[in-house]
Amino acid sequence: MSAKTRGTPAVPMFRRLMVANRGEVAVRIARACDLLGITPVFATSTADRDAGYLRGRETVCIGAARSPQSYLNMQAIVQAARQSECTALHPGWGFLSENPVFAALCETHGVTFIGPPARAMHLMGKKTPAKAAMRAAGLALIPGSDGILDSAEQAREVADRVGYPVLLKAESGGGGRGMRIARGPDEVAGAYADAQAEAIAAFGDGRLYLERLIEGGRHVEIQIMADRYGHVVHLGERDCTVQRNHQKLLEESPSPSLSAEEREKTLTAAVRAAASIGYVGAGTMEFLLDQGTLRFMEMNTRLQVEHSVSEVRSGRDLVVEQIRVAAGHPLSFGQADVVLTGHAIECRINAEDPANNFKPAPGKIVRWHSPTGDGVRVDTHVDSGYEVPPHYDSLLCKVITAGATRDEAAERMIVALGELVCEGVPTTVPLHLKILRSSAFRTNHYDTRAIPGL
């Protein structure tokens, strides 16, 4: 850092920042704030206000435990930011992170929303305009409906045209919610109703679109970072093929299945596409690797859970960069400065019972121990005595390991997961160990249809 920026920066930095989220991501944002000398203020529900990760922190209680009354309550969160004198707000992931109305409400009340401009968020957050914009930027797409479906009957017509099986997806979806597969004409109406009900419950928006379901592909995504001066860089790709019910379990970078040419071609196109829509901040473009071709699926206009994989490989702090960019700074590095080294793997440890069909398992964690060691990073909000509330998602912790090779990273992960102690609630650690030890995973013979090792 030059003497000029260390003294009086040309662009000032926020002093206080509202963390409008909970759990692991709230802790992650607060760490970036601490690095930048910003005081984080946590918006919290009654279910979280006594949690250990908020001890010694400034908090504002914004509502009752249920998320519509707290973490989805826009007015309460913006008012909390105002009265605690925060000039910026980080939405994390999930909840309101991809809601352009919320971003606009923040801006109206003089609180800088840390994310892309509402216009870019609106364009990319709604999946169908995003596909049109990406087609124009030269990315390959998955065949499907041209826009929002009006009815189950229309879904049936489009499905008949593109061919079965098809996937019905929520326009405002994310995190695997609001998606249903229809394998034949008879299943379309049922899948449409189920996906719509889940989408309304999770996102408050029941609009759906449809794509042909490509079975047996690999899920690959590209991390983008952009500033408001038109600089866009990528931080490589991540392979998130290992999923259960569209919930990512394990992510890695680089993708072991992607050819060097396709990688180079798509990374360049993704940067160009992000620049073409005036994107600012961190974002992710998700692709399906279908017989060697990366087909664009959707863009997430926010920080993602698995961003840490790219951080480990690039040595860049994406949350710090997000906050700096939101404060008006240019990117602190260019594409040439992004050096991706080695291999990184992340496991998402959830409070779910693998022995009981992955039933979510809220409860009290009697004893907790995070793994440590060379090349091991743990992001968590959990500590001994933490009570996992039943109202929110079940992510307890992310373990990220790095190694020179994929095998080294995998071996380190096996050791790290063996070291992790979580007494009181069941976790998905046994499942992760089974995956990591399977020959299907280690020899890279798997796709989205099945979890390797099961």
């Binding site: 914004i62 309460a76 079940s394």
Partner: protein, 224 residues
Amino acid sequence: MPVKNFVLDARLTPPVLRARLAAGPDGRQRLLAPGVGMFRGAPDPGMLVGPEQPIGALEILGVVHHVLAPAGAGGLVVAPEEAPRGPAPARRPVGFDDLLLTLDPSATRSESAANATGPVAGAGASGAAVLRAPTSGRFYVRSGPGKPAFVKAGDVLEAGQTVGLIEVMKTFSRVLYGGDTLPSRARVVRVCQADESDVAQGDPLLEVEPADAAVDQNTKPHPA
């Protein structure tokens, strides 16, 4: 003469919020903030407050909401234990559930006693069998808004039949009727939980009675 240029001024009908009621020490009542905002206009210590009476104003994003005492609240306003030094601020920031006022209801005992009691249902007291929640979460009695309830009082259930949905961490699962201690065919006496209520594991969901017994009663008037 017809009314011309009639303008409905939103300031004449400000939105209303009700404070939350919680029990405090020594039988006192604590009135808690119903939302996040800037609070002002609390009644002075010694004033009498009753249900549905104004206790101040909460400004949320520039919109002033009138705050009323909830039903069941009533008493004399108690001075805060730690009186702030210097003049009181014109308004102060409060978070959800922060303390707005403490009331001493002993002054209005006879009034509040009538409001305090409510019916307490004796779940399972009548000897009926009870289907309990298999897990903590939010209980739904119907598959979606506007859809019919899965079961209602008087329905006859068979083992394996869906009686509701439970959402835990955004995952929905069906609650199926059945269990070792429950009759395999049963008539619903009562649905214990309202739609979208939060239930803990083991909370009663349904009270049922054996359906065969009811059938016997119906067939009694026709002895062979």
